[in-house]
């Protein structure tokens, strides 16, 4: 041990050298990180070192268990409990993004990625086999659903999975069971809320015949186009017109969802990047007074997107529970969910197959009447 105080504090020279060393680090690091964060990367391809610009893709999913693939390569999962993937270092050009998981339908889209820009997209995956929670008239003392006819239940669950156990009763006696209050509630829902048995197309044809073949003067008619039903969530309105189903943006241009917009470019380019249908829609919107285009410095936004109804009649539509980007549709052969985002194409997934259906969405819960049976449809596979 030294027997003199170590009175020498850090010398000015010592500190100065350290300080200027850190200044050098700062001056080198700052431009490097600014270039990095704006999308520039060093490329070592073809044994040559060059600087390339990259873009990114931001994928949100509705399910934590899915796998995301970019151009057939799996993307590393984000941290725990996050359902958004930010994929970096993507070279400019068209890229295919796929989101899938065992037991779920696959969602796929092909989108352009531009240098220094992030392409946003939202994926959804519904179970391949419908997930139904039975709502029966009677239940056991422990709350288990009871079916009195084995024939009926086997038909109902032929292409579906019950999320909860249920029991069969060979007898029709109800004395050993208790009345299910939820059944009474759901039954009353379907009793009081009549979902039209007429399709959107039928209603359209009714309107056409009313205006086109009537001998009397139609009241206040100014257009041959009619809108029969409107559903609104946030600033998006769902409407049917001329037998088609549309999602219409009613808010300001600053808040418009990304999927209404495409980069300002030629029609050919738009066709190549987003599909012919988008280019046509933009062309039609340019001529339209009711659905004007919102044009910014570097993008064009439509205010209306036609939804893919799979060439079937639409009997019912509403927003998918807890979403303003997805639409629930009852078509001729079942209940489907489609995305409003029509860039490249619209993913449409079957939620529940059936032809004799009634559907009601109450407090973001989907209830279905299939024949004389009532169910709640679950949108995820429940893990046991």
């Amino acid at each position: 041990m030294t027997h003199e105080p170590q009175i020498q504090i850090l010398t000015r020279k010592h500190r100065s050298v350290f300080f200027w060393l850190l200044v050098m680090v700062f001056l080198i690091t700052l431009p490097s990180l600014i270039f990095y964060t704006t999308g520039y990367r060093l490329s070592f391809e073809n044994e040559e070192t060059s600087i390339v610009t990259t873009g990114g893709m931001y994928v949100t999913t509705d399910n934590l268990e899915v796998d995301v693939y970019l151009d057939e390569e799996q993307v590393e999962r984000p941290r725990l409990f996050r359902s958004a993937y930010y994929i970096q270092n993507i070279t400019a050009g068209q890229h295919r993004i796929a989101v899938q998981s065992p037991g779920y339908q696959t969602w796929v889209k092909e989108l352009p990625v531009d240098s220094r820009v992030v392409t946003e997209v939202s994926a959804f995956n519904l179970p391949i086999q419908a997930q139904l929670r039975p709502i029966t008239a009677y239940e056991t003392a422990t709350g288990t659903a009871v079916y009195f006819s084995t024939g009926t239940s086997s038909t109902v669950f032929r292409d579906a999975t019950s999320t909860e156990p249920f029991v069969y009763s060979s007898s029709t006696a109800t004395s050993t069971f208790q009345l299910n209050e939820e059944f009474v509630f759901v039954e009353s829902l379907f009793g009081t809320t009549s979902t039209s048995s007429k399709s959107v197309f039928d209603r359209f044809m009714d309107e056409v015949s009313r205006f086109g073949f009537s001998t009397s003067t139609p009241p206040e008619a100014t257009s041959s186009t009619s809108t029969t039903t409107k559903t609104v969530r946030g600033d998006i309105e769902l409407l049917d017109a001329d037998g088609e189903l549309y999602a219409k943006w009613q808010g300001s241009s600053t808040d418009i969802p990304y999927y209404f917009c495409v980069a300002s470019s030629s029609r050919a380019s738009t066709t190549q990047r987003y599909g012919e249908h988008v280019a046509v829609a933009i062309k039609e919107a340019r001529a339209s007074t009711s659905t004007p285009l919102l044009i910014d410095e570097n993008r064009i936004c439509r205010t209306q997107i036609k939804l893919d109804r799979l060439r079937q009649d639409v009997f019912y539509y509403d927003f998918f529970p807890n979403s303003s980007d997805l639409v629930l549709m009852q078509l001729e052969d079942g209940i489907y969910v489609t995305e409003i985002d029509d860039r490249s194409w619209q993913n449409t997934q079957l939620l529940y197959a059936g032809t004799n259906l009634q559907i009601i969405v109450e407090n973001d819960v989907i209830f279905v009447q299939d024949g004389d049976q009532y169910f709640q449809i679950a949108t995820e596979i429940e893990s046991n």
């Binding site: 170590q6 500190r15 350290f18 690091t29 990095y36």
Partner: protein
């Protein structure tokens, strides 16, 4: 030079009386200290151009801080790309600053430990120091007996001739009869243990003062001069004055260490001697929040020990009585009296005054209270008082424009360094932990679509994680400075003492930036603060 004091006749009369009490004799003061505005505390004590200039200086720190914060918000909204680049630059700067400061802490820790192992008593034998007195002033308010006893016992245990120690227990008349009675009982108990033991009672009604430690010390120094020093005819140059907070418990070799530095520095009467305050007296009783704040304050002082050209005196410190006498014992009208005394001395000595880093500790109390919320309130108030030290920046810049004898380079460097210190204290934590994300939330649509918008939070997060490694260093060093575990405290506490450092981002904002902004905003609007006495308690 403007005439000091206002035009209010009543106030002017009060000032005349004040001057009569304190400023009758000025011939002993250094020339610059004889100026009537030498001890200016606020703009309203000046007139004319000086008053407007001082008021301008009072506004500058608050405007600078608020402009920075609002500027970043506005930049995030209107020029988010520029704001994002600035945030990247600032985050890198923060990481490098953390490395830079951590290096200083580590180096000072090495010196501190080395100094604590030395036999200072043996080392000062080569000097003729026996005729040097230690004058120790303990201002107190309503602190309990246990605090006073532990403090005085610390002096009693010092390895220095007790006959050469003058203890002044400086009570406040405002604190009532109980405080005076306690002081008298201490005098009875310890009076004969030292060369002299003086109890002073600071009157509560002296015009021109603000209630607080500064005015109490100011009074006590005059009283001890008249009642002890002059009576005993002790040369002022032979007295080293230590002004200690009442919770300051010195280590046995403190006075020897102090004498060693006093004897070896080039200009002992133009130097302040700064120990390292270790807030460890009640560390085992204090909560995690108190411990983090206490250790953070210690670390900051350790950094300052290695950068004395940026330092001013803080809390407990020592200085020659001659130096104090030459400036009239500092100021009785400011909140941050511990630092102001240094600026008084530096300006009066035309810049020829320095802080000498002792790298030797004194033990003090971590701020606590009986309840959790009480602790939070106390820490907040204490840090607001400390950060109100920004009033010193107004003082030094004001006098730097007056005292041209101070080298111009020194004036500029000190003003800029101190200004940057107060600005960064308030703005940096807010910029780092809150505003760093502003462009992401406030930026334009064009910005949100860019890679930069997505990469920015990832980069800032990663840089903060790197900076947080400094906390690991802090945790290890803090454990090495923690007193031995007393009986009744679980070993599990050591783990808590390590993990407690994750609170630092929060404490930097809640107990550094916000009280600092509070203090600067008050000064900006001329709502001057008074002195708030930090409560001191002991487990009985």
């Amino acid at each position: 030079m403007g005439i000091v004091w206002t035009k209010n006749p009543l106030f002017s009369e009060q000032i005349r009386l004040y001057s009569a009490v304190f400023m009758i004799e000025k011939s002993h003061l250094l020339p610059y200290a004889q100026r009537p505005d030498f001890k200016v505390a606020r703009a309203n004590e000046l007139t004319g151009k000086d008053r407007r200039f001082f008021r301008f200086l009072e506004i500058v720190p608050g405007v600078a801080a608020w402009s920075t914060i609002i500027g970043i918000v506005l930049a995030s909204i209107y020029i988010p790309f520029i704001a994002a680049y600035f945030i990247i630059a600032f985050s890198i700067y923060w990481v490098l600053k953390t490395i830079f400061l951590s290096y200083h802490v580590r180096y000072n820790l090495k010196r501190l430990k080395h100094h604590m192992e030395l036999d200072w008593e043996a080392m000062i034998q080569r000097f003729v120091y026996q005729d040097h007195y230690h004058l120790v002033v303990f201002p107190f308010y309503k602190e309990p007996r246990e605090v006073l006893e532990q403090t005085i016992e610390g002096v009693l245990a010092a390895k220095y001739d007790k006959e050469k120690i003058i203890v002044v227990l400086a009570a406040e008349a405002r604190a009532g009869d109980q405080a005076e009675a306690l002081a008298r009982s201490m005098e009875t108990k310890y009076g004969n243990a030292f060369g002299h033991f003086l109890v002073t009672i600071h009157p509560g009604d002296i015009v021109g003062e603000i209630a607080g430690k500064g005015s109490n010390v100011h009074w006590a120094l005059q009283q001890v001069k008249e009642q002890v020093i002059d009576v005993k005819n002790i040369p002022y140059k032979k007295i080293v004055t230590s002004v200690f907070d009442i919770d300051t418990v010195i280590y046995p070799d403190y006075f020897n260490c102090l004498i060693w530095f006093f004897m070896t520095v080039e200009n002992p009467h133009q130097s302040c001697f700064q120990p390292v305050p270790l807030f460890t007296n009640n560390l085992w009783e204090a909560g995690a929040l108190s411990r983090v704040m206490a250790m953070s304050s210690t670390f900051w002082q350790m950094i300052m020990q290695e950068r004395p050209e940026k330092a001013a005196t803080f809390s407990s410190h020592s200085v020659s009585f001659q130096a104090l006498y030459e400036i009239g014992y500092g100021q009785a009208n400011v909140v941050s009296e511990d630092s102001r005394i240094f600026w008084n001395l530096m300006i009066a000595n035309n810049g020829n005054f320095e802080v000498v880093s002792m790298s030797y500790p004194v033990a003090m109390d971590a701020t606590t209270a009986a309840t959790f919320w009480g602790t939070i309130a106390n820490i907040y108030r204490q840090h607001r008082r400390w950060t109100y030290g920004v009033e010193n920046w107004c003082y030094i810049v004001y006098h730097f424009t007056k005292n041209k004898s101070i080298p111009l380079r020194k004036r500029w460097s000190v003003a800029l360094l101190q200004g940057e210190g107060y600005w960064s204290l308030v703005t940096n934590p807010i910029m780092l932990f809150i505003l760093g994300w502003a462009p992401i939330f406030l930026g334009t649509r064009e910005f949100h679509e860019t890679v930069l918008s997505y990469e920015l939070p990832i980069l800032v997060r990663n840089l903060l994680i790197v900076a947080m490694f400094g906390l690991v260093v802090s945790a290890v060093i803090s454990l090495s400075l923690t007193p031995p575990r007393p009986d009744g405290h679980s070993r599990f506490r050591y783990i808590v003492m390590m993990l407690q450092w994750i609170m630092v981002p929060m404490t930097m904002i809640v107990f550094s930036a916000i009280p600092g902004l509070d203090a600067q905003t008050r000064l900006m609007f001329g709502r001057y603060m008074g002195f708030w006495v930090t409560p001191k308690e002991r487990v009985k």
